[in-house]
Assembly symmetry: C2
Homo-oligomer: 351 residues x 2
């Protein structure tokens, strides 16, 4: 009897390797895999052996890999969750594809659109699923907003707004604020803001303008606040504001249509959270949501089904590419002072 069986895990279920001993993996991804039928965790990879051992002890895993090839050579591993530092996503996803493993990759899918396209193409050629972990899509409140928009509750969407202030303390106030390769609000928060709007509006961004600043929290040259505007193919105009510096306001996503407005508060979160108001003629009414489901439950569940040929991941590789493209367009606009037009094709918008 294996250790997995001792914990009651389904040994025939999809075998996951956790690549990167991250907080997200520990607190959310592993519990979600364990809560998903026909899905189980095989082990964890960390290039830092001690970090992997400590992680395994906390999460009840028996297997710790310190080199990626061993993960990919393991027959029990069918899928990998890549939750390492952003700049490692590309090479790890390409290696997974080469080994025939399915991949759920943390956002941002890559550092550049060109890298992301290369990753997507490699996974397609290898016949494996590549998904992006834009987990906020899985919030019950966000799912409800999208369903209401799709069924015409607010008519045609005209305008939208997002507000995402993230408090970075302790272990989070590291590379996000310090590493010019990986850091800053655009890779971390703006990809989320854009992705949620793309998901709610079922439309892609065609133009972006943005203004960024360093308000003294991040290292010099790294953006700790951004605000900008987005034009969607559908005609909806949106703005967004993402920052590490603003710690008190309530995170929110609003969509304003011809027949009503939807306002979701607290929905940009990793835990089950959020409230939704439907506003008509200035009168707000609470939308009934029922029990809130954690966002990672849906990411893992949809991915597991997709691997079995049933439906699509919550956020596909294309979603990761398009949301990255808009965030990078915002960066380019902020630096150049010019509106950035995004190609219909997912062309490279790097600086």
């Amino acid at each position: 009897m294996t250790v997995g069986q001792q914990r009651g895990e389904d040994v025939d279920g999809l075998g996951w390797a956790i690549v990167g001993a991250s907080w997200i993996a520990e607190k959310f991804v592993i519990p979600a895999i364990r809560a998903t039928p026909r899905s189980r965790v095989v082990g964890v990879f960390s290039s830092l052996g001690e970090r992997g051992q400590a992680f395994a002890a906390k999460t009840g895993l028996d297997l710790v890999w310190t080199d990626l090839q061993s993960v990919l050579d393991d027959e029990l591993v069918e899928a990998v969750f890549v939750g390492t530092l952003n700049h490692l996503h590309r090479e790890q996803v390409l290696a997974a594809a080469a080994a025939g493993k399915h991949v759920l990759c943390e956002k941002p899918i890559a550092l550049t659109v060109a890298d992301a396209i290369e990753m997507k193409d490699a996974c397609e050629r290898a016949g494996v699923v590549l998904a992006t972990n834009h987990a906020f899509r899985g919030q019950t409140a966000i799912q409800k907003m999208r369903a209401m928009i799709n069924t015409g509750s607010i008519g045609r969407p005209l305008a939208a707004r997002t507000f995402f202030g993230a408090t970075l303390s302790g272990r989070f106030a590291t590379w996000r604020l310090q590493d010019p390769r990986n850091g800053g609000v655009l890779y971390d928060l703006t990809v989320h803001s854009v992705d949620i709007l793309r998901f709610l509006l079922t439309s892609n961004v065609i133009e972006v303008q943005a203004t960024t600043d360093n308000q003294g929290l991040a290292a010099e040259g790294i953006e700790d606040i951004v605000t900008g505007t987005l034009r969607f193919e559908s005609g909806t105009l949106s703005n967004f504001q993402d920052s590490y510096t603003v710690n008190h306001g309530l995170r929110s996503v609003e969509v304003h249509g011809t027949e009503g407005s939807l306002s979701g508060t607290g929905v940009l979160d990793v835990v089950p959270a959020g409230e939704v108001l439907l506003v008509r003629n200035g009168l707000p009414e609470a939308v009934k949501l029922g029990p809130l489901e954690g966002p990672f439950i849906r990411s893992i569940g949809d991915f597991t089904k997709a691997v079995r040929g049933q439906g699509a991941p919550t956020a596909t590789a294309d979603d990761g590419i398009r949301s990255l493209q808009a965030a990078m367009g915002a960066k380019r606009s902020a630096r150049s002072g010019q509106r950035v037009l995004l190609n219909e094709s997912t062309g490279d918008q790097e600086l």
Copy 2:
């Protein structure tokens, strides 16, 4: 005994002529003048005689002028409220200045920054007060937000946002939607959004980016929606969204600081209205406002005092110029696709 005495008006009070038989003048400006000590309405000017007669009957005025020079020749008139179509402001204010009359001019102060500067200079040379009727500053909720920001309740302001959806029906769905000289959300709503932020932050806009559209309500070529970003001299980054098309959402103004966030809802209105929340660590708490004062009471009261040499108007000519400059910068940015830098001096930013 004059008719004014019959109505109990102070015949020695500041004598106002109403220039333009507008809804704003009828519903708000005249009642505010009558509620202000040492202030009274002498008569109304309308180039359309019948319109002036009907207005006078509704508002209880005895005197109707049909040519502006007669207004300005009247010794009882010491101040004029200019509430005509936007493109008439310039010539009427210049004429008032030449006649030595003080002027409270409806927003936008003019169609171009150059015109507005000419008007300001003329009034300065004539020794008369020129003020802009950015009346929303007078909302009790806005006054309270400004006082809290000034006394440090939210620390240093880092970010802000405004949302101003205006429903245009009946008599309002005319030139605002049809006249390419005067119409569109930028002259009508964006000047307000910018002005309220300038007032709350006690800082001027130094950069603006914007995206506009015609979503089918206004005539072709006239913007019925705009969203954009503002960088203030203080370092605060804001966004704004103004539209005639979005009718359901709640108008709001938010300022996010290092120690807390202030959120005002319903504050962009001509009647006494609005609620304010102070949010700290995501926990909202209602701010006590006491009785709400109508915004025009303050405009008229401050103006009357300024004419008597006591203090400044609620919004000065400079305020009108700077708020117009930012709105015109937004228009220019929307058309060119480029960020617009606003000069320290109130330079012309016309297209």
